[in-house]
Amino acid sequence: MRPPISFVYGNLVFGATLEDVWAAFSVSSASYEWLSQDAKRARLLALMGALEAVEADVQILRVGRCWNLDGYLHELELGIAGCHEQANRAYAQEHAERLHHVGGSQPAVFFLISLREPERDVASYVSQAAEQHPREWLRSIRSWVSMRDRRVLKPSELERARLQADQIHARLADFLDVCPARGVELQWLVRRAFCRGLGEPNVDGLHQPRALAFERNGEALLAPLEGDVVRWMDGYVEHHGRSLRVESELGVSWQAQLVLGALPERASFPGARVELMFAPIESLPFPVDLSLNARFLPNELALRIARRRVQDADQIVRAESDGDQGVSDIGYQRTQEARDLLTYLQSSSRPPLLRATFVIAVGAQHEQQLAERVEMCRRAYGEIRLHRPLGDQLALFVQQLPAQRTRVSGYDDTLTTEQVAAMMPTATHAVGSRRGFYLGHTISGSRQPVRFNLREGSERDRNTAILSIGALGSGKTTLAQKLKYEGFLQGARVIDCDPKGDHRFHLLEEVAPHTETIALRPDPALRGMLDPLRVAPEHLRQDATVSFLRDLLPSAADAAWETAVVSAVDTVLRRSSRPTCLEVVHALCSGQEIEAQVGEALAVYARSGLTQLGFADPEVKLAPFGRRQVTYMPIRDLPGPQPGTPRSEYTQAERVGVQIIRLIAMFAMQLMSRERERLKLFSLSDVL
């Protein structure tokens, strides 16, 4: 067998011969499961567009890449910069142990596009030739009849291939997030096939296949050194009929290649029955590799084939009608389907067809495990049969390498671009940040690790708030405590407001020495701690104070009362350098009839209950706070409205509760705004 890859130059992959050039592209995968139907349909259309735009044979590889645990731990190690080093190390160690059990793999998707003209029938070929310049005819004729050495390549040919690859890149980029595959990725793809089921291969990222440059009769020529690529395929392979035993640097890999059988005749998108490159494999707890090798049938050729099929279907029906049993249902149905196909191909977009073979490669550490995995795979694909061809395992193994065409006959199926796009090769369950601590794993079978970077919002200039919603006992408080702990490890300023008193973060052994507790309770010693005229940002000061004081007044209060409050706040803000809400109350009390009534009502709140925290008394000296890394603020029995209650129906106590929460938030903002460069976390739970 000739080596399946003869040379690699940039993202150009040369197949078994130097004439068979492919351009390799790495395609970004994206979270899919929770998209709306419209968004899923948009993905389908994008993939369809890409497949139709390239107008060439295509190979889609979706390979499970093991989660890089070592890289993650290394990143954590780099993040430990003199801040809680011991706690950081212990946490990283826990994660390492946990992630060994979680496992997890993430898909890497590659599109390989053949730079060779797709095969056409004679009529299409002649029509295309007629459109070309005679210079092109001469060149084609010369290339057919020339006896040139097939092992060498002219630099001009290489350059032409590179330009073609760039054009295809531009076409693909109109629809998908793609970038040219790097040499190291291609090397990984090849090496990965030999280590399937064992882990990530060691890839020499700097190795690039070379070519010998020489001159022949004044013309520069390149002779690719095939050995450089053959080196990537180093490994002892035993062909066992229905499986392969591959000895690699990571140990012995047992592999089975499965081929997809007949697809469902009609299925709805979105749905697991059509998302064959996403739904079934994401439900598996181990990584599998998929390869779809498709031959492009241009619309003209597809139309001719379809017309022939209409004739065939009619002929079969006629033949069946001659029999005793008459025309069969399937025979009649075929005539209809053939005509439907013809109509589809004659639609305005002039879609092509793809003759494709879909192969699934399963790897395991031993034979027993392989049998179990194959069985799980079959179960995952449900009604669609997976065949395990006897004697063709090696050919299918090679077919999974980059820049390969279908090597096994009998399993190809003629698909529409819609069918291939609906397989959703780029879909994944993966979510979360690229960096940050390990947060958990997805609930899919592939259990993909999820990371969360607390700094992501501020680094990307996006929203920094995190809203956690869930039923009782679903883990909202635990999640909040985990994020606070991770923030603490990164040296963040943490403010933890605890209305229920069930937080335990501040009691952790490594956190407790860095924690100050400010219990928010109706205590005269804390009076004025949440005074909006002191804690609110300057531009919000007046509005926040008016809102606070207004909500303390009875809901049936006269509109004149509200005017009185606004006026008093304004007066105090004008005359005082350090205004407080108590001064506002005094200003109201010293006013006329209505003002005095309002002042008396507010004075009650200023003396009692939690609301007294909002009225600063110049005579009360508050203890200094905000000097520790963690500020824990328990607050008990805070009344709050039931979820969904309209604001107009809030009771007096509920309105007060909401205002206190608002003041706490402003207080926390004030504490955090002192250190602009530092990461800050404010946690507020169960307030609604």
């Binding site: 392979v237 062909h239 007949a262 697809l263 709805s268 053939a338 004697g391």
Partner: protein, 199 residues
Amino acid sequence: MTEIRSYRNVFDLERRIYRVDRLRLNPGGVPLRGIVYFLALLASTLLLGVLPLVGALLRIVPWYGRELALPGAIAALLTLVRIEGRPFHLAALALLRYALGPRELAGVRSLTAADRRWRLDELVLLPDGSDSRLRRLRYTGPGAVLVSAAHVRRGWRPGPLARLARRPSMTLEALPGRPRPARGQVIALAEGAHLEVGR
């Protein structure tokens, strides 16, 4: 919801013959593939019939059983079976390839091919023109010679006498003291043409 359709039925059709002229065959028709299998089996039977030992054994069976019933029955059976989702002949071909192909491979090449070593028979060193002078040598085409030193060429007309006298087709002589030309000159030699480089 979008409906995704498969047109597999349109492409995956099996041709059957229902009648030959006025003769009706069985109600379900006879698959064309079955007829091809039958003919292949018949040819094999006839071929085996002329072999010494197997032929004698086959001749025990009457001709209608040997040449009609047996191939017909086997062909009918082979038409019905699908091995790993493929028709019999494709599965059999894969099996044959597997049986004849290598079981042990280095990478994706058979071990026998990978074991082969290339041994250098004779090491030929040719001056590459980087010397400051021309070296004496004699070279027979086909090939090309790049000359980067100042030289003078003498071409000789080939003929039977010249060949008898082993006279080279071309002689190069160095021109000492002359500067090296800016670009080398390539001399292409046809098959059998001799080039001699003198001092």
